[in-house]
Symmetry: C2
Subunit: 163 residues, 2 copies
DNA sequence: TCCATTTATCTTGACGTCAAGATAGGTGGA
DNA sequence: TCCACCTATCTTGACGTCAAGATAAATGGA
């Protein structure tokens, strides 16, 4: 009935009434992880948008940029590093190519391969965007004390390792 | 060049070479949060799939189920609680209605309102699915010690509060 | 040399999501 | 009573993503 959003704890409280047999401690933790990921994503998307990008395009440009000179990778490399399917890679490349931020070249040794390279415009955009992105991430994390930061990073790292 | 996926730490190492001026400590932490959220989501989606559901449909059915008898909310309530737009609510309802898991009724006092209620089939599906879901969440979190669990939950909670 | 097999990328169709706008019903003041 | 405005939901069009399959090129063994 309530016209309001519920916190993960509110949701647990509802389940406690309706299904008191369920152990919902993990639900609150995982729910908070999800909320946090969402809030962080929204803040980062706003940063990308200031540079005419979104997560998908930032991700691809950043992958090329940090791969170092000559700022070029095959579609397959991009697929692996961005952890997406081949169709999604194709789509991301197409959109960035239309914006003039990357170019497709063919590999002289293997005509099946598509080599994707940053254009000068793409290089300029991602170099500016990543600075802004880092500043946003700093802002988002600086409400954690140094000790909290280290603790959280350690917990996330070991959980991820065990999964 | 590498045909491999990179850890958040690998990514930081690449940036350290290409853009040593950037302070990327937050990037590793936020990156790990994102990876973790993704791994957890994939595991939970697999659970939903065993019941013919996905995240979207589980979310709506669960919202109705835990709202308690008579397991019915307006589209607006669902929009607020699920934190999605009105168009997305309409879409989710349509799909679940086609599966016979919810029904739309009109509100006698306000013809603009769409009241969405669980069917018997919907109730049965969500009651089974949520048990499986809770078991999956238990499995995902039980690699954390009790102490780690409490620490992590506390850190996430306070970070979220401050954001 | 040939061709069956493997590899790299692209295409197609289906989903879930959102922003913006359309539609229809409700409400309050003149 | 009317109508301008507000509210609740639905529609439309655009994206990003994936799974599955199509296409084209490389490879290796007979």
């Amino acid at each position: 009935m309530s016209e309001k959003t519920l916190s993960p704890d509110d949701i647990r409280a509802q389940w406690a009434v309706e299904r008191p047999d369920l152990a919902t401690e993990p639900m609150a933790l995982i729910g908070r992880m999800g909320r946090l990921a969402r809030v962080l994503s929204e803040a980062m998307e706003a940063t990308f948008a200031r540079h005419g990008l979104n997560y998908a395009s930032f991700d691809l440009l950043a992958t090329l940029r940090r791969s170092g000179d000559p700022y070029a990778l095959t579609a397959g490399d991009l697929m692996a590093q961005m952890m997406i399917t081949s169709g999604t890679v194709t789509n991301r490349i197409n959109r960035l190519e239309a914006q003039g931020l990357v170019v497709r070249r063919s590999d002289k040794n293997d005509a099946r391969r598509a080599i994707v390279a940053l254009t000068e415009a793409g290089f300029a955009v991602i170099d500016r965007a990543v600075e802004d992105h880092v500043a946003t991430q700093k802002r988002l994390t600086e409400m954690l004390s140094a000790e909290e930061f280290v603790q959280l990073d350690g917990l996330l790292r070991s959980w991820l390792d065990r999964l």
